[in-house]
């Protein structure tokens, strides 16, 4: 590949200035801030002043203090649950879309994606009012006779964060699963049918395995978005719904310990990178190529 045709116009004698800018701007406004942030995690704070001397104390504290690791694991479990519930709901919906024909299929897909366009903050607020004591969920449950009186089970705790994040993130699970299902060659399904397999057998042995890369991508997307979110737990979590993101944020506010907050961010970034890499690794569609 010595020259794709467009290497040439790209080579419209770029002046050295452009070359410098093309490298300098991303490095300056993206890499430098993240690098400084990383370096900050090795500093410490003394009486409200940042001490610019390298130390591992922040990381030692993260791993040894009885407060942080439990919250860290609890948050990871919470976000894995969000991913699992989202996929359980998204998979049947995505599958249903692929059974539709042509225009209907994409119209319905669009319909399920539109809620993503709505302001994130407003959605959190609306969901909180649905989950609240006077909210629609309690009214419905009481009306159906499942609860005898409105419950505070659904708001200002971990359940609330779980439900809210799931509602917000389902579309991110639908899309990759739909794309994986859509790519499964029809001939495989017909062959399976011809060979006498039942629909259930065809689903379990052809469709499901071939759609797993989509499920992996969906899980990775939802998990990463859930664990990086601070707004939802802050708004619906109340006092008991304490997540890692909130602890992290508090280091920059009330706790005022930027270096320790930076160390917590590094821990969060590691989890996110691992999740993205796993999603990449298992999200590749290998089996479906004929």
């Amino acid at each position: 590949m010595s020259s794709s045709g467009l290497a040439r116009p790209a080579a419209i004698r770029w002046s050295p200035l452009v070359t410098v800018l093309a490298f300098a701007l991303p490095v300056m406004f993206v890499l430098a801030p993240l690098a400084i942030f990383l370096v900050y995690s090795f500093f410490s704070v003394d009486q409200g002043q940042i001490v610019y001397a390298p130390t591992l104390a922040n990381y030692v504290r993260f791993f040894t203090d009885p407060v942080f690791l439990p919250v860290f694991w609890r948050t990871i479990v919470l976000c894995l649950s969000v991913a699992a519930i989202s996929i359980l709901l998204a998979y049947p919906a995505a599958y249903f879309l692929t059974t539709l024909r042509g225009r209907w299929r994409y119209a319905l897909l669009m319909l399920l994606m539109v809620p993503l366009l709505m302001s994130y903050v407003i959605k959190i607020y609306a969901i909180r009012s649905i989950l609240g004591l006077n909210g629609f969920l309690n009214k419905a449950l009481v009306g159906l006779g499942i609860l005898s009186e409105p419950s505070t089970l659904f708001v200002f705790n971990m359940n609330a964060i779980l439900l809210t994040l799931t509602l917000l993130l389902i579309p991110f699970a639908i899309l990759p699963i739909f794309l994986a299902l859509e790519r499964i060659p029809q001939v495989l399904l017909r062959a399976s049918d011809d060979l006498g397999a039942s629909s259930l057998q065809t689903f379990l042995r052809i469709t499901l395995p071939l759609s797993l890369p989509g499920v992996a991508s969906a899980a990775s997307f939802v998990f990463v978005l859930a664990i990086g979110d601070f707004l939802t737990p802050q708004m619906v979590g109340g006092i008991s719904g304490f997540t890692f993101g909130r602890i992290l944020y508090s280091q920059f506010g009330t706790a005022y310990n930027w270096p320790f907050g930076a160390a917590l961010s590094v821990a969060l970034a590691v989890v996110v990178i691992v999740a993205i890499l796993l999603g990449e690794r298992f999200g590749r569609n290998r089996g479906a190529s004929l």
Partner: protein, 266 residues
């Protein structure tokens, strides 16, 4: 797809309806409350009203936040479209350093916004840049640049090289080829990328909370108001914004979906 048996079809359809209801319920709350009075979770269906929309016109606090959001969005779009297009042109067909720099450009998009925001916050403090709308625009641009870059690069890669070769054969200079062949072919991708960039900037909350100065954008304003509860006119604004964004994204889809006839003719 082979038609599954009926019971499973019904179950699948039911789940899809359930998902749609779950996704749309948070949208209906503010839209319904923008037209009907709501008290203690009960909607008063008997008295529809547009008072909330009238009240909105007099809510200066919200309107000025909306203006700030539009200004930030505009600057972000200009910077990210110019920057993203230049970077795409520059890196296209170039090998040395490309994947590393591409990775850097994508970092703010992949990292949780709380990390990007905090990193920028510390960075601005270290270089002594006062928090203001400028820092917000820088933050938003870093965040959306990857989208514009990706969109334009995809279009560049799908462009037939014969177009450029023909242009050179016919004696055009490099700049003529750029202005008359490459740029017109990229324009719809640039517009599509610009719309996506604007939509992302319009709703960006976390980075903005961290790097903003005294002036705030609409999502941050709403975030601050949420603790106390919204006044009804916010619902009117939300309904309007929803309509606006749906329109915007329909436009983006229009520009990003390749128009086969046009490319064939070109």
């Amino acid at each position: 797809m082979i038609a599954p048996p009926r019971l499973s079809t019904i179950l699948l359809a039911a789940t899809t309806v359930l998902v749609a209801v779950l996704l749309y319920s948070p949208l209906f709350v503010p839209i319904v409350s923008s037209f009907f009075p709501v008290a203690r979770g009960e909607v008063d269906w008997s008295s529809p009203t547009v008072e909330t929309y009238v009240a909105l016109a007099g809510n200066d606090e919200i309107l000025s936040a909306l203006r700030t959001t539009l200004v930030v969005g505009f600057c972000t779009v200009v910077l990210s479209v110019v920057g993203g297009t230049l970077l795409a042109l520059y890196y296209h067909g170039r090998r040395a350093g490309r994947s590393a720099l591409q990775f850097i450009i994508f970092l703010p998009f992949l990292m949780p916004p709380i990390i990007s925001g905090l990193a920028l916050l510390i960075f601005f403090r270290e270089i002594g840049l006062e928090r203001s709308l400028l820092t917000v625009v820088i933050g938003h641009t870093a965040f959306v640049l990857a989208i514009v870059y990706r969109t334009v690069l995809t279009r560049l890669q799908s462009m037939s090289r014969t177009l450029v070769e023909a242009s050179y054969d016919l004696g055009a200079t490099k700049w003529q080829t750029f202005w008359r062949i490459i740029l017109p072919n990229l324009s719809s991708a640039m517009v599509g990328g610009a719309i996506l960039a604007f939509a992302l900037s319009f709703d960006e909350t976390m980075i903005t909370i961290l790097v903003t100065g005294t002036q705030t954008t609409l999502p941050v304003r709403l975030w601050a108001m949420m603790r106390l509860g919204f006044s009804p006119d916010i619902n009117a604004l939300v309904a309007l914004i929803l309509m606006f964004t749906v329109l915007l994204c329909a436009l983006a889809a229009r520009f990003l979906v390749p128009r086969q006839i046009a490319t064939q003719r070109a």
